[in-house]
Each structure stands twice: as C-alpha cells, then as structure tokens.
Amino acid sequence: MKRSTFWGLFWVTLAALYLFVPLWGAFDFSLRAERDVIGVAAYTRAFADDDFWRTFIFSNQMALISIVASILLIVPTAYWVQLKLPQLRPAVEFITLLPFVIPAIILVFGYIKLYSSDIALGPITLLPPLTNSDFSTNILLVAGYVTLALPYMYRSVDNGLRAMDIRTLTEAAQSLGAGWFTIMFRIIMPNLRAALLSGALLTFAIVVGELTLATFLGRPAFGPYLQQLGQHKAYEPAALSVVSFLLTWLAMVLIYFVTRGSNAQVTGAH
C-alpha cells in the first residue's frame, strides 16, 4: 500500500469514527429502554405521545411556510441584485450574514419588544400587537425562522443564479414576450431547483430543531418539546435524535438524486 493511501484511509476512518461512534452510541442507548432487552420500546413510547405528533406537525408546518416565505423573499431579491444592482451585492451579503452575528435570543426579544404593542404613527395604528393571538405570533415565528435561515438560503440561491446566465435567459424570455412573473416562475425558479432544494433542506433542519424563538414566543414547537422531554426522560430523546438524523439523511439522498439531473441541464445552458 502506498504511504499516501494509508494516511488517506487513516484520516477518513478517524473522521468516520468521530462522526458515527456518538450516533451509534445514541442508537444503541435508544434500544435499551427496557432492562436487559434490546428493543424499540423508546421509539414506540415516543411515537405514542400525542405531544410528539402535535409539536412535530406544528414544526413541520412552520418549516414549510418558512421555506416558501424564504424563497419568495430571497429569489426575487438575489435575482434583481444580480441582474440590475450588482453594486449592492456586498451590502446584501452583509445583511444576510447578520443572523450569524446576532443570536436568536436577541432577535426574539427584539421582536417581542417591537411587536407586542401597537405600532402607530401619531393617532393612526399601523400594526396591532402581533403577540396577542396564536396566528399572528406564528407570523412572528416564521419571520424569525426566515431570518435565521437567511445566510443559508441566500447563499444557495445566489450560487444557483451564478451558475446560470440569468441575463441572457431573461432577455431571451423577454424577447419572446414574457413578463417578470413568467420569467421568475417559469424560467428562473425551475432552473434553481437544485439550489432551492438545498436551501430548503437547510431551512428545514434549522426550523425543526429550533428552540429559542419557539420557547420565548410560547409556541408548541418540536424543539421545546425535545428539550422538555430530555429533562424528564432518557431513552425517548435519544430515539427521536436518531429519527431526526435518518430524516435528514433521507432528505440529502433525495436532493442528490433530484439535483443530479438538473445540474446537467443547467450546464447545457451555456
């Protein structure tokens, strides 16, 4: 065996052990919920809990809404910046990086302070308090999730747009009579499929496990449920962590297969 091959294998093995041993440990632990028995009791109990399903479905709903909101906000913005205002790119990139610098706790207290009372201009109420109802608090929650996912979604979309010749595709569509709406939804978005999927996956991963925003806004999300579960039980949180990993991997495999075809198509555009 060549010396370089040996060290290559050594580091890969070491990295694999570092990543998989804790996961295996969690999986193994999750199977030992009953004394001296290897079984799926922790999984059965976790899935039997109504609160699990309620919070899991709520977080998934919020994730989907956040993904759609992110796409609707970020794709036109990144497209317009790249097409018409390239000089604004550094400013926009800076803004999208702010969630890395400003912790979620600051964000959520900012929201609560700003939106828990009327926003008024003199005697005219511009916006009633958003924290007064579940529905409007969910709007705040989604806005927070969109902000937290901004660095990931923006970068995915921006990279996807850079891989396309958006100027020429836009002009080609315009010369064929297409307006901005048609260009955005029939040309740009379908060709951003790979970028949108990876952005969506990252947004999903952030939202489903998110703790701070949901806790302080008092919403029944999966993150606070897991945290609470961990305080009272040992095996179920391990089981749900393993399930979360499996779901993430499933999504990654899905993205791999979906994007494989679309990359070939985009390459052909040049």
Partner: protein, 365 residues
C-alpha cells in the same frame, strides 16, 4: 417608409466618457438582411440591444413598421432574438423551448403544436423535439434558438453573433442555413458580427462600425471594393494602405515614398497634402506579367514570399509602408527572393483614396 428606421441614435453609458453609439442613422427595408460589422467595443451589439429594447437610447428614435418603439418594453416589441450563448431554457425540452413564446402569448394548443412541428422541420430537427438542450450539440442548440425566435412570427429578427461559439465548419454550414431560412420566411433580419466573411456571405447590406459610429453602409460588393475610410479598408478585405503625397489633384497624380502613381480620376485634395491610399492587391502583379492597362509601377523590396498552394503571397516593403499581393501559382513561376528588389505594376483603378475614419461617408474619388 422603411420597415426599420433608426434616426440620430446616441447611447451614452453613465460610467463611460465616450458615447457607445452616436450619429447612427439607418433605414432597413422589409425582408432585408443587414449586418453590423465591426471590432469588439464598436457599438454594434449596443445598437442591436437598443432595437431589442434591452437598452434605451440616450437620444434618437427607433421606428419599427411605422411605430416609434422608444419606451416600449422588450417583451412588447414582437422581436425575435438569437444570442451568442443560445440562451435556451435548460428546464424545457426543445419543443417546449420553441413553443414558449406562443404559450406566453396564450395561443391555443391547436395552433402551438403544428407551429412547433413546422419550426422543427425548418431546422431539420423533427426527431429531437423531446430532448433537452444539454443533449444537443452547439450547432443544434443554435438552430433551436433560431426556431424559437421565429416561432412567434416576429416583425424583426435580431441575431447577436450567433455563430461565434461554434467551430469553423459548423459556422459555415449554419450561416448558409440561417440565410436560407431568412429568405424562406421573409423576416427582416439584423445580424451582428465581427467576422467580415460572415457578414459578406450573409448580408444584403453591411453597416461597418467603429468607435460607436457608422463608417460605411453598403452592399458587400461596395464595402469590399469601394471602402470609403481608412478603417473600412483596413478592417474589410486585404487592401494595402499607404500614405501618398498629393502632386496634382486635377490630374490625379500622387507620390508614394517618392515614386509617382496616377489615380483613375481627379480628386479633391490640396497639393502637397498627405492622404491615405489603398491599393487593391488583386490588381497588382509582378513586372513582366503586367496587365495591359497597368500604368503604375512601384519598386519594392521583397520581405517574405509565402506559398499557399493555389496562390503565392508576397509581402514587400516600400521604405515606411508594407504591401502584400497574391499571384496565382503555376509551375513556371519564378518566386521573388527575400531582399530582392522587384517592380509591381497596377492600373489606375487599383488606387482608392481614403478619408480618415469616422469622417463623412463619401469617397474622395
């Protein structure tokens, strides 16, 4: 009234001192094929983009079929455009690409399908309708782009260096195909290129451009044979340019590097003035095989003789200037040697007097 009229077009980009296009005036008749020819940065693509509606002229008017289109958005101009990079939509099949414009116009399916089939037939890709652009060659993709632009039955077809990204062989065959399709459909076409051979072979008329201005407008024959400015003479064809001193303009006599020559006609210039003169290489010959009407002779020093098969190209020096000319090959030809002094002969008609670039458009002669 002409089908397309560009009047006093000027385009000044905010971050550039000199205008990208200025004093641009052109009338194009229906069904005509006009090429904008010039080097990179001469304003030809900017002019095309103004016609398409992607750029807005700083001043001037663009009238298409009697309607001033200044202020009309690109998607309302009914102009088909073919781009250098094909710009096919990667997420759509060939047939969907071709039918895109018709779908946007909300044409009924019963109209779209036969039109797409007709276009596929026109570009000889009837069996490729279900493929994606990435599954086609560059030449095929560009044919699809052409079909897509023509499917909407545009009033005007604009082609922005459509063959530049293709290899030489495909370029020649596709340009013949583009011309045949344009004739068949009768669409008015504006073609941008920096390749003079492409412009010559395709166009009814050529607009030669330099530094944002029109240098000359004419048929390929006129542009090649009667260049009016130094720029056109140097950019189009292989004319030899030399500086000549005017001896007697009324008699058409000049002096090149101290050697007298006579032009075919009297011309308008001051005695003693130095002007640019072009000598047609195809009318020059080695002494001894002089054409009967050759009255001009120049003694030159051979710098290089290149054997090119059917022709022999000789490059020779006239003190400050260099001229080159071709001689048909024959087995008995005595090739001039490097450093040898020879006499080249040419008739009066071989002399063209040129105006400086970007001057008015009339020849001095």
């Amino acid at each position: 009234m002409s089908f397309l009229e560009l009047s006093n077009i000027r385009k000044q980009f905010s971050n550039v001192a000199t205008p990208a296009v200025q004093d641009f005036n052109l009338k194009v008749e229906k069904g005509e094929f006009v090429s904008f020819l010039g080097p990179s940065g001469c304003g030809k693509t900017t002019t095309l983009r103004m016609i398409a509606g992607f750029e807005h002229p700083t001043s001037g008017s663009i009238v298409i079929n009697g309607k001033n289109v200044i202020g009309v958005p690109a998607n309302k101009r009914k102009i088909g455009m073919v781009f250098q990079s094909y710009a096919l939509f990667p997420n759509m099949t060939v047939a969907d690409n071709i039918g895109f414009g018709l779908r946007v116009a909300k044409r009924p399916k019963a109209e779209i399908e036969p039109r797409v089939a007709e276009m596929l037939k026109l570009i000889h890709l009837s069996d490729k309708g279900k493929r994606y652009p990435a599954q086609l060659s560059g030449g095929q993709q560009q044919r699809v782009a052409l079909a897509r632009a023509l499917a909407i039955k545009p009033e005007l077809l604009l082609l922005d260096e459509p063959l530049s990204a293709l290899d030489a062989k495909i370029r020649v065959s596709l340009r013949n195909e583009i011309r045949a399709i344009q004739r068949q459909t009768g669409v008015t076409a504006i073609y941008v290129t920096h390749d003079q051979e492409e412009a010559m072979s395709l166009s009814d008329r050529i607009v030669v451009m330099s530094d944002g201005r029109m240098e000359q407008v004419g048929t390929p024959f006129e542009i090649y044979n009667f260049p009016q400015t130094q720029f056109v003479a140097s950019f189009v064809g292989t004319l030899n340019q030399v500086q000549a001193r005017v001896v007697d303009p009324s008699a058409g006599t000049l002096e090149v590097e101290g050697q007298p020559i006579v032009a075919a006609k009297a011309f308008d210039a001051r005695k003693g003035e130095t002007i640019a003169v072009a000598l047609r290489p195809e009318m020059m010959s080695l002494d001894g095989k002089t054409q009967d009407d050759a009255v001009n002779r120049l003694v030159v020093t051979v710098e290089e003789t290149t054997f090119l098969g059917s022709i022999v190209r000789t490059r020779a020096r006239l003190r400050e200037s260099v001229i080159s000319f071709d001689t048909f090959n024959n087995p008995n030809l005595a090739l001039p040697q490097r450093g040898e002094k020879i006499t080249v002969a040419f008739p009066r008609e071989a002399i063209l007097l040129l105006k400086p670039s970007n001057a008015a458009t009339e020849n001095l002669l």
